[in-house]
């Protein structure tokens, strides 16, 4: 589904952040992405949610080479990828409900067609009572769950989560992990970037390890 072959990436004329990165994510798989801070985890995720282009190498997403993909085709690919950003990136002027419904709204779907689904999803992540609250009034854990709900509401083929447990206590971290595993069981490929080793061991899933821009695969 996602294939990286000898991918390198640098910002401007700076040093290479990623070097010769190669891996393959199969449909329905669950992977962790680990490595020390500054190892290039976020840069690798940026390539995967199409926020950056690689400096070299080949990236194939859903069977398409992103180097030759016209810009107008990128939104369709992005819609197949759900992203939980490290700092949530919820829109503060919208309610929790509106934030979570956003990926469906931008697809141009009428609200009646998804209102019930979004409410159901919000109830499932425990935000049923917080639908009209705006992000600044949510707790860290609530924001995290709203961000996850937004990432999965459009039933993406791939879910990318950047440090999803970085801002929550260990108990909430375990609950969120169970949520990701549940989503994975339902058929979504999941890649979780984290430096929480307890989380990786608890899940027992394969681990992509980044160090100094190079990737090794364990498990």
């Amino acid at each position: 589904m996602i294939r990286f072959e000898n991918v390198g990436m640098r910002y401007g004329m700076g040093p290479e952040i990623l070097r010769d990165v190669s891996f393959h994510l199969a449909p329905g798989s669950l992977h962790f992405l680990t490595g020390p801070s500054g190892a290039g985890k976020t840069s690798l995720l940026k390539l995967m949610f199409l926020a950056s282009r690689p400096s070299r190498g080949l990236i194939t997403m859903f069977g398409r080479d992103i180097a030759t993909l016209p810009r107008a085709d990128l939104p369709d690919l992005r819609r197949r990828v759900g992203v939980v950003f490290q700092e949530f990136r919820l829109l503060d002027h919208l309610t929790t409900y509106e934030n979570v419904a956003l990926p469906l709204k931008i697809q141009g779907r009428p609200e009646e067609s998804y209102r019930a689904d979004v409410k159901e999803l919000l109830a499932w992540v425990g935000l049923g009572e917080r639908m009209t609250a705006k992000p600044p009034t949510l707790s860290g854990g609530e924001k995290q769950r709203a961000a996850i709900a937004r990432a999965v509401v459009a039933q993406p083929d791939l879910l990318l989560a950047d440090e999803p447990t970085g801002n929550v206590d260990p108990e909430m971290g375990k609950r969120l992990l169970r949520l990701f595993i549940e989503l994975n069981r339902l058929g979504t490929s999941v890649l979780i970037a984290t430096h929480d080793h307890a989380l990786v061991e608890a899940a027992g899933a394969p681990e992509l390890m980044l160090k100094n821009g190079r990737l090794t695969i364990r498990g």
Partner: protein, 317 residues
Amino acid sequence: MADPRPRDEKELDREARGLGGALKALIVETRSVMPAAGATGLSLVLVVAAMCFLASLALGAALSVGRTSSDWARELSAALTVEVKPVDEVPQEAQVEAALKLLGETPGVLSVRALTKADTEALLEPWLGKGNVTDDLPLPRLIDIRIDGHAPPDFDALAKRLVEVAPGAVLDTHRQWQAELVRAARSAQWLAYAVLAVVATTTIAIVTFATRAGLQANREVVEVLHLIGARDRFIAAEVQRHFLHLGLRGGLIGLALSVATFVVLGWYGHAASTFLVPVSGLRLEYYPALAGVPLIAALVAVVTARMTVLRTLHRLL
């Protein structure tokens, strides 16, 4: 389960029904994915209002000046004057008689009236004063002619024949005056259109700047929308909707101010000749043209915002 949307949004939904609701929806901004005001709130509405006010004044002035000049041209071209100078060979009275006779027989001439000596003296009074000064002066006699504007006589032929019957007669068609008036009015009209062009360009520049500032202020929102798969035109539509409301609101305020200005000029303009040209407000038939100004302002704002957004987004992957 209760509708999670905020109360005001549900109210807007209800109000959106019917014509009044449709009009209100154009003026009052509904909730958008983009933060509504951002960097472009009330101050920008006021700027657009000021621009529309100036544009309406310039447009009204251009239309009025055009109308006034064509009125003048029409009045002058319907009137001719024959000046009969005293000459040695033929007595002046005989010349006037002959000229009147010829003019009376000329097709296209509606009426002919010779000004009496008293009329001529009255015309000269402001310069020469009362008294018998004019008795000793060889004054020309004037003949006032009204012609049919649609079928005027041949001026050159008429002038030649006049000289044949009355050697001191000169036909004055007022063409020089007419040409100068029309030229002056045209200049004023072009000036008004130039003001319109400057106002339009300034508005485009301001909207471009405001759109960029708005995008910069809402960069996070734009980036998130972009990354979750929003197409450029979706984001542009959200932004341009904001500018549609803004342009219409500002435009209507500017229109109201300019209409008030023309109405006030209409009231006081007759009595006081405020300008060189007697200002008499704006003719009723020109008010619909002014109503076009807010619509054009909204259109300019929308198109400019859209192009700015699309250009800015193109820099993102």
